[in-house]
Subunit: 463 residues, 2 copies
């Protein structure tokens, strides 16, 4: 029953917005904008006793006045009015609620805590799963339901990464980084005060029930019962890669976490060990989170840690190689057959051993992709970093490669590519190649290498 | 005399392109494009015996046929014809030469080495400083002279960072990252095979002679006499921040370096110590190089290591704080007066101690900037990380802040800001605020924190 309700919450048949508004200054305006401009295909019911229509859609004085069934209600009325609204949701038979309103456990004084306890018992009585309170909401990219106050999340590419965050601000940061890096997402959300949907419930749902989710990324500040999360992941029926970014590592950061979410972040060293034991890969920055999740969504796992670096320019290939080795991976030694094939493709003055300098072949996209193909078939190589940096003379390189890649077989080894160019020059080609045939494009050679190292670590624990 | 000639090389009165071409397939086409489309204001003389005009400009059979004086010649003819072209440059009285042509010391076999030795002795006889051979050239952003085969470098913002690179590919990567991050540059170049202008000569020139250069960034693979570089920096009459990215750290990377530039990169641990002793700050990625150089160009130095984090969203403030503390900086404790002022500006339910959660003031750009001002005056704070992440409801925040910042006094402490938003939304405001009043905008909270840590390290050694 519980998971059935979470399913109705995240993929609702219809959505009511309690506190919907036509005024830009109200969050109820922005939630409506997200649903309407985000092209939500399900019926939207604005609820506001003081309006006939909102965003041009017929409004209802109360959720009780809507005659059709409604799965999800998004609540944005002031804190004190939320319990009453929630009760009405219960009576209406709502299956899930998002409470965006803040001003509960996270603020000073008793009133917020009392209100939150009230919300909790109403939710319990009616068996309603709640995201929040004190959240920006969630976005279901898979089905086009943007139940948040930020419309722009609807511009994120559809894909397999689900981000479960304890901070709305962090979710916004990562959502925008995801757009920049063309990372495909399934869902993103901030759990807010976690009145009854906490990390274990959310993670279990996305591990076991949501087909669209291929990779789970967590942003954790502090939780009361971390063990429940770890046990959920260890005992899950389905295995999916789980990565986590743990904030509140330092003393002062920890104190801030206590204020922010009402819980202490706790001793970071204990967390570090516990994450590792639960098979969760820890990442150390927002960009590492994005890069790693993206690669896990696109690329196959690695058998061993032997990496080939193929670069159209020697310098960027060197820094990728340095990073590969500094993170504990190995540069592969090509088999005799592979080396022979490369020697046929490149002139003798090029560096033809790993890291391969494909510079002399910059005028020939066919040659460059033949090298990639030959190395992808090398028995001593488990993953490939593939680099091309723009220069005025290789303007057409990516367009030509795009055409050839379209008809190639998918690579059965991870290919992490790095294509750098001035804004506007290769953008469309990068967009078209990214994610195809197992190729993940990452912004710099060093970040590509780090994502490969993380892919290898996850390959060891998941496969 | 030598520096006078380097000055004429980098800021020439007129430029000849030996091997200029109208055919896209030739590098001589792209060098012409860089100069012409890069809006070079100095006379350009295409040299090519087989054409009347090139890029619509009158062409000359030989550089000797140009009657006016010419400071700089860019040579792109095939390797074997370069010595003769260089001799003609000498006879013409050219002050500096860029040899883009490759195929010398860096290739297998004796011929390349013999040709390079010949070039070296001709340069010596005529006392001509040479950038290259085997280089993409250089770009003087300050004066608008793009003597390279990549026109797009002309789009880089004018500023104080000079990049001296041992790899053309790395220079391209960094140039494009610089554009993305709006880093202002003075000059960028690849030294190529360093026939007579090596790191010590270039660094000395940009330290002591080039007023536009405020910060020097080096990308080093391997050099024969690192001590000469270190001595140059230690004994320089002018002190400017110098940062370095050392590649070829690992065994295989080192081997690649030997092929790429003809020199071994050498033992990385020895390099690490030597860089530190010479007061050169080491960076560990291309993005760290860009972020650090940019902050060094824009921000004042730090007195001590006490940092305040002011964020419009708690989560991103936490990850900045974590990074600040993990890199050895301290989160400042505000003076009583500062804390009192902040308490007047923010409601009691906000986190008003460091890291400050300015969330409740998101609707008021005045309040947010007043907090920034108050903290910039705090006697216990040496630097500020200032974060605002977009949400649909704070759409106008940056436009409003831009208007207020325009009339503010410059900050006498570093303010590293992080403004994240979907593409297109805040881009113009970010562009207008970046670099003004001592505010440097860096892409993520963690990178902002790392750039602050590097600024502190340099502050200790330079100021």
């Amino acid at each position: 029953m519980y998971y059935e309700k979470l399913n109705r919450l995240f993929s609702p048949n219809a959505i009511a917005v309690i506190g919907a508004s036509d005024s830009f200054d109200k969050l109820g305006y922005h939630v409506m904008k997200s649903l309407v401009k985000g092209n939500c295909r399900q019926p939207i019911y604005p609820v506001n006793p003081n309006a006939q229509t909102i965003w041009g859609i017929k409004a209802y004085p109360s959720i009780m006045d809507i005659s059709d069934p409604v799965d999800l209600a998004v609540i944005v009325v002031p804190a004190r009015r939320v319990p009453e609204a929630l009760k009405e949701c219960g009576k209406k038979g709502i299956n899930g609620v998002v409470i965006i309103t803040a001003g509960y456990k996270e603020i000073e004084g008793e009133e917020g805590k009392i209100l939150e306890d009230e919300i909790k018992s109403i939710a319990e009585a009616f068996e309603i799963p709640i995201i929040g309170p004190n959240t920006f909401g969630f976005v279901n990219i898979t089905d086009g339901v943007n139940a948040s106050f930020t419309y722009e999340f609807s511009l994120i590419k559809n894909g397999g990464v689900t981000l479960i965050s304890q901070s709305g601000g962090f979710c916004h940061l990562c959502g925008f980084l995801a757009m920049e890096e063309r990372m495909g997402m399934a869902k993103l959300m901030s759990l807010g005060n976690r009145v009854n949907v906490d990390f274990p419930e959310a993670v279990k749902y996305f591990l076991e029930e949501d087909e669209a989710t291929k990779v789970i990324a967590l942003y954790i500040e502090g939780i009361e019962n971390p063990r429940a999360l770890f046990e959920t992941i260890k005992s899950a029926k389905k295995k999916k890669p789980v990565i986590a970014y743990k904030a509140g590592r330092s003393e002062k950061g920890d104190a801030a976490s206590r204020f922010h979410t009402g819980t202490l972040a706790g001793n970071y060293r204990i967390w570090k060990g516990a994450l590792r034991q639960a098979g969760i890969l820890e990442v150390n920055s927002s960009e590492e989170l994005i890069d790693t999740a993206k690669v896990l969504d696109i690329c196959p796992f690695m058998k061993e840690s032997r990496v080939a670096v193929l670069s159209s320019q020697a310098g960027p290939g060197m820094i990728a190689s340095d990073t590969i080795e500094s993170l504990g991976l190995k540069l592969s030694t090509f088999s005799d057959k592979t080396q022979e094939n490369i020697n046929h493709l490149l002139p003798p003055f090029a560096i033809r051993t790993n890291p391969v300098d494909m510079g002399p072949a910059w005028y020939s996209p066919e040659t460059i992709l033949n090298i990639l193909k030959v190395v992808a078939e090398d028995e001593n190589t488990d993953g490939i970093i593939f680099i091309a940096i723009f220069a005025s003379a290789n303007l057409n390189l990516l367009a030509d490669m795009e055409k050839i890649i379209k008809d190639m077989e998918p690579f059965n080894k991870p290919v992490i590519a790095c294509f750098n160019a001035p804004h506007g020059v290769w953008d469309d080609n990068i967009k078209h190649i990214d994610g195809k045939k197992g190729i993940a494009i990452i912004h710099t050679p060093e970040r590509a290498a780090r994502a490969m190292a993380n892919l290898y670590k996850i390959s060891l624990s998941v496969s």
